[in-house]
Every structure is written in structure tokens, then in C-alpha cells.
């Protein structure tokens, strides 16, 4: 029986680890060498051939001690170098074995298996597992999605935007509670702000200007939920705390300084470091992914618009700034359940998700498969708030603000339709929490 169990464990491992190989790419001449006697770092050198000098591939690394029967846990942040979007040629990955659990006994026969893969469309991080443990991270490729292996998929949900999105992500609550699902957003250029003609526009803070983002990133499909926060901090800070529903409701009542910390976590953009005891600090440690952070305001709006330039990410504009039927299907706001009876002062502990915050993923996603970008909770961003962002074209903007105030985006469960537009902006005191404000994560490839 033990043998059978072991067999099935290995089978599951193999199936999970099965990666889609990047078409036309191959890895050869893999050489591993610890930098003895200079340091403990290990150089993993390889030759990548993509068949096209401009093509890129990601490199999936699996490590073993001896045979493949002894896989090693390699936390993502113990690896650096040529892992993501790698062009062909002689390449090097650097592994720091001191950032692993293998510091008690030497590894006698460390081996690696390098597989070139396309860029995953989604990544799924299991928050219940330690960094580097088997099945902690799952990469989902477009062709795997298309095969139906992950459930429902929708193509081109928004007219005029070519895309494939995973709608089946809403069918399994584990993706909103125990796991984090992030979707790749490709670098690009978009119109940030709103045109003068847009209904609900705030003229002083929504200057229309062209923004170019030069780096791909992954962004949370959902707002961070209360369970996802609890897995990392063991804390339930939110106001909408009905225990029957809280797990998949977005976390709110959390300060910017709780998310990134009140010390080094406030230094962005001069540093990406966060306080170790902040949510993101603990998340980075737990998952081994040091690229987790809040989005910049531009990254947030680019992801929210998902190829549209209208007030809503459905490709539509509002006709009413209070109650608008076009927003009803897109996100939780005051007029489709947001209002809490009988008062606005504090939610009853029995408040169900038909009022106040909705369970994440309850409304239509945008063209890139992101849910609740409009409504539900307002989402904290990295940038210091500046009223005007100007009209000049910018690249990878980091905000113009100089005060301590930070930006928050996306409208809330308590807002009217006019505040739940892609271009709506707000400032927030980073040291003050609110039951209308939560956040969404991004992950930047190193």
C-alpha cells in the first residue's frame, strides 16, 4: 500500500510538473558549478536555442539530488539570472543554496532539468505551502487552458479586444481563498485618464495622456481576499466579517502601511523593499517570490482597461453617475447591493454578500479576465497621490505626488457609478484604514 501511495504521489507530481515546452526552443550544454572556493553560489549555465534571435522563452528549473526520485524544493527567490523571457545564446542561472533547506548536509549529486516554456498566461500560488515545496506554484499556459484542463474559458469577451480568459477560475472557491491566481499582462501603451466628454469625469485629476509600460507583469485575478490575508498574517481585520462568507470576500479595513509596512515599505520608488512584518513582506517570505507588490497606478489602470478606452471595461460608457444599469453587471456598487441597510455606520456582523462587499468574482470580468476592478473595494496603489498627472506621454510612470498620501483606484461597494470608472482616482492616508479599501497584488518577474 505504501508503494502504491508513493507511486500515485510521483504520478501526481509528474502530472503537475508537466510543463508546456516552448515551440522551437531547446536547451543544451547544461553545466553546473559551485563557485568553490569563492562562494556558495552555484552557476547553472546552459545554451538556449529559440530558433529565432528575437524569440524568448522562460526556463522552468527542476532540481534533484541524484535521480528524479529525489526532487529538491527550490524557492523562487533562491534563483536569479536568465529565467524569464530569455533570448537565445549562452545563458546563466545563479542558485543560492543558502536560501534553501539544504544547509545541513551537502548535496552530493545536484542535478537540474531545464525546460524552455512559453510565458504562462496564469500563475497559481498555493498560500498553504512553503516556498519551493512541490506543487506550490502552478503555471497555466494558453494551450493548456484551451484544452479545457482548467474549466471554462472564454474568448474575446469584450468587443474589439482579442483575448482568452479563464472564467472557470470562479467555479472553485480555492482560487479565492487558499491560492492566489495571477494573470499575465503584456507590456504596452494605453490612454490613461479620461476624455473630456466622459460622463462622471473629474476634470482636475483625469488628464488624458499616453502611458507606455515596458515590462510584463502578473496581476491578481481577484482582489486579495480575507482568507488570503489570513493565510499570511493569521489576522481577520475586515469589517464584513460574517464567518460564513468572509473567506472569499475582499479584505478591507487594512492600511497601506499594513500592506507594505510603515518603515522601509514607504520608500518606494527609491526601493522595492517592504517591511518584513508587513503583509507583502510575509507573503514574499512565505512564497519565495520577492516580486510581489502593489501595482503602480498606471499598471492598475492598464490592467483595468484591458484594451478599452471607455468609462467601463466592458467597452461602454455611463449614462448616469448614480445608478447605471451598465455597471450593474460589472461590479458591486451602491445601487446593486452595496448599500448596507439600515445605516452606513457599520455593517452588521451577519451582513451577507448581497450587501456591502461581494464575494470576489461575482461579476463580469474584463477582457483580460480580471474581476472586480471596478466596485467592491477600492484598491491601494504604490504611487503617492498627485491631483494632476499631466498630459505628456510617459513611460513606466511612478507618480508625481510628493505628499504622504497614496493613490487608490477602482470605486467601492458604497460608491455611485461615477466613481467606479476605469479613470476614477482617489487619494488615501496610508496610515488610516477604511472598510471601503483593500488591494490587489502584482508580481513582477525579476
Amino acid at each position: 500500500m505504501k508503494t502504491m501511495n508513493r507511486f500515485f504521489e510521483m504520478l501526481i507530481l509528474c502530472l503537475t510538473l508537466g510543463a508546456v515546452v516552448a515551440e522551437g526552443s531547446s536547451v543544451t550544454d547544461v553545466a553546473i558549478r559551485q563557485r568553490w572556493p569563492w562562494s556558495r553560489l552555484v552557476d547553472i549555465e546552459y545554451v538556449l536555442d529559440n530558433g529565432d534571435p528575437d524569440a524568448t522563452a522562460n526556463i522552468l528549473l527542476r532540481a534533484y539530488d541524484g535521480t528524479t526520485a529525489h526532487p529538491l524544493n527550490i524557492p523562487a527567490d533562491s534563483l536569479s539570472g536568465d529565467l524569464y523571457q530569455v533570448k537565445q545564446g549562452f545563458r546563466r542561472i545563479v542558485w543560492d543554496p543558502t536560501k534553501t533547506a539544504y544547509t545541513n548536509e551537502p548535496l552530493v549529486s545536484f542535478r537540474v532539468d531545464l525546460t524552455p516554456t512559453p510565458q504562462p498566461l496564469y500563475m497559481i500560488v498555493d498560500l498553504t505551502k512553503e516556498a519551493g515545496s512541490s506543487n506550490q506554484v502552478e503555471y497555466v499556459y494558453e494551450e493548456t487552458l484551451a484544452s479545457g484542463a482548467y474549466g471554462a474559458v472564454q474568448t474575446n469577451p469584450v468587443p474589439g479586444v482579442n483575448s482568452v480568459i479563464w472564467t472557470g477560475v470562479t467555479n472553485n472557491p480555492v482560487y479565492a481563498t487558499d491560492k492566489l491566481v495571477l494573470r499575465r499582462v503584456q507590456a504596452g501603451t494605453f490612454p490613461m485618464g479620461s476624455p473630456v466628454s466622459e460622463l462622471g469625469r473629474t476634470a482636475t485629476s483625469e488628464d488624458l495622456h499616453t502611458v507606455t509600460l515596458t515590462k510584463d507583469y502578473y496581476i491578481g485575478v481577484f482582489e486579495v481576499t480575507q482568507q488570503q490575508l489570513n493565510h499570511i498574517t493569521n489576522h481577520w481585520p475586515s469589517s464584513f466579517k460574517n464567518t460564513d462568507y468572509r473567506a472569499a470576500r475582499p479584505v478591507e479595513n487594512i492600511k497601506f502601511t499594513d500592506i507594505r509596512g510603515s518603515s522601509i515599505g514607504t520608500n518606494w520608488p527609491s526601493s522595492h523593499a517592504v517591511d518584513p512584518d508587513s503583509y507583502i513582506g510575509k507573503l514574499r517570505t512565505r512564497t519565495g517570490f520577492s516580486g510581489f507588490d502593489l501595482p503602480t497606478e498606471a499598471q492598475w489602470e492598464y490592467a483595468c482597461r484591458a484594451g478599452t478606452d471607455t468609462a467601463l471595461y466592458t467597452g461602454e460608457n455611463l449614462t448616469n453617475t448614480a445608478s447605471d444599469a451598465r455597471l450593474d453587471a460589472v461590479g458591486r456598487y451602491q445601487y446593486n447591493g452595496g448599500k448596507i441597510p439600515p445605516s452606513w455606520t457599520t455593517p452588521d456582523q451577519y451582513c451577507v454578500p448581497t450587501n456591502g462587499t461581494a464575494l470576489v468574482g461575482s461579476y463580469l470580468p474584463n477582457a483580460w479576465g480580471l474581476y472586480d476592478m471596478l466596485g467592491n473595494v477600492q484598491e491601494s496603489c504604490l504611487d503617492r497621490f498627485a491631483t494632476s498627472l499631466g498630459t505628456g506621454a510617459v513611460t513606466d510612470p511612478e507618480g508625481l505626488g510628493t505628499s504622504t498620501s497614496r493613490t487608490a483606484r477602482g470605486g467601492t461597494w458604497g460608491s455611485g457609478a461615477g466613481s467606479s470608472r476605469s479613470a476614477s482616482r482617489a487619494g488615501q492616508d496610508p496610515a488610516v484604514s477604511s472598510w471601503i479599501r483593500g488591494f490587489r497584488l502584482i508580481w513582477m518577474q525579476p
Binding site: V30, A31, I32, W38, S39, V42, V47, G51, P106, V108
Partner: protein, 234 residues
Amino acid sequence: MRETKMAAVLVALATTLAGSQALGALSASVLVDATTCRYRHWSTAYTNTVPLRWDWIQDATHAKLDIVGMNGTFTTNFAAGVSNCLWHAFDTAATSEEDVYDLTLTVYSDGETVLETLTARLAVVAGAGGGAAVNAVAESAAWSKVRKNVVIPYDAAWDPAATNALSATLAIEKVGGLSQTNAFTDAAGYYGWKLVHANWGYGTFNLSLTFPEALEPLTATLTRPIEGTMVRVQ
């Protein structure tokens, strides 16, 4: 005397093989390394069979190939007309015995005049066979001990400040004894430190690796203990 890297000869061989197709056909793609000092790839043997190829120049009648490693040397003579040889750098598919070889092909005329010398350095490292020992144990005594000949890597790419380095210097100093400075004409490669049957003896050795423009040299202290069991008689 013209000196040419044998690496270039290997490229020529690969290119020749890849190009031997029908007229007008597109050759198979071959990776060509045009960088001068950045990669250890050129100095690493990935299989135990290393194809060597050369062209004969005018008036050459014979040649001698010397392969000198820490653990052994080999010499092979060739008559004009033979322009390639397959060198078995190690016995099995993978090796745990590391070595660094200097390859020298000396081409002679009928009167034993040296017409040309081709040189290359090739390292046999265990990790090129797919597996390598990794020691991340902080207080590991094994980390700083050397007992036999060892291969020491150097690579300017380890230090961002040395990105443009084209050379490296490895200094070895025995505490209270010999010292040696090795100046490398490249910035990435392997050095074979011959300890066995050399004059280094036993003791403590301070190593220092320097790249131009690097902020700090890399340093290491190694100990070569006396072999055998010490018995104390009172």
C-alpha cells in the same frame, strides 16, 4: 609564429559539418560564440569525446598534439593529411574527476622547423556531465580542505563592477611558503591548481582573485592537511 585558439578550429569543424548540404539549401543553425572573454562555455568539455580539427599550412609535413593536464599528459603525432582527431577527454559519460587541459598542436616542416602553433584550454568539470556536488553547509570543514589537484573557476560576470573585464589574476600564497601569481588573458575560465607532485606541500593557502575594475578581490583560505594518521608516542 601564429597562435590560434583551437576553439576557433572547433567552430570551423561545426560549421563545415553543418554546411555539407545540397547546393542552395539552408544550413542547420549553429550557435557561434563571437565573444572574447565572457563565457566559460568555450573552455568546458560537455562530453567525453572532443572533436579536434585543423588545416595544414604550406610546407607542413607533420604535427604533434600535446594535451597536458594536472593528472596526466598525452602526446600524439600526425602525418600531413590527417586533419582531425577525436579526443576522449575522460572515460565514462560523466566524470567526477575534474581537470584542466592545455592543448597544443605544433606543426612542423620537413626540417623540423615549427611552422605554426595552435593552442586551447579545455576544462573537464563534473557539472558539465549534469550533476555536481553542492555544499551549502555554513560550518562545513570540507569546504576549505583540499587534498588533491583542484579546478578553480574564475568569471568576471560574478561581479557587476567587472562587466568590462578582459582579464583576471589569481594569486596563491602559501602561508610561510611559496606564492604564485597567475595572469589570465581572459575573464572567465578554469584554472587547474596542481597540488599533487608539485612543490606546494601541506599547509594553509590564501587565494585571491582579481578582475580589473572589480571593487574587491574574491578571497578564500584553503588548507591541505597532511595525509595519513598521526600517532603520538609518549
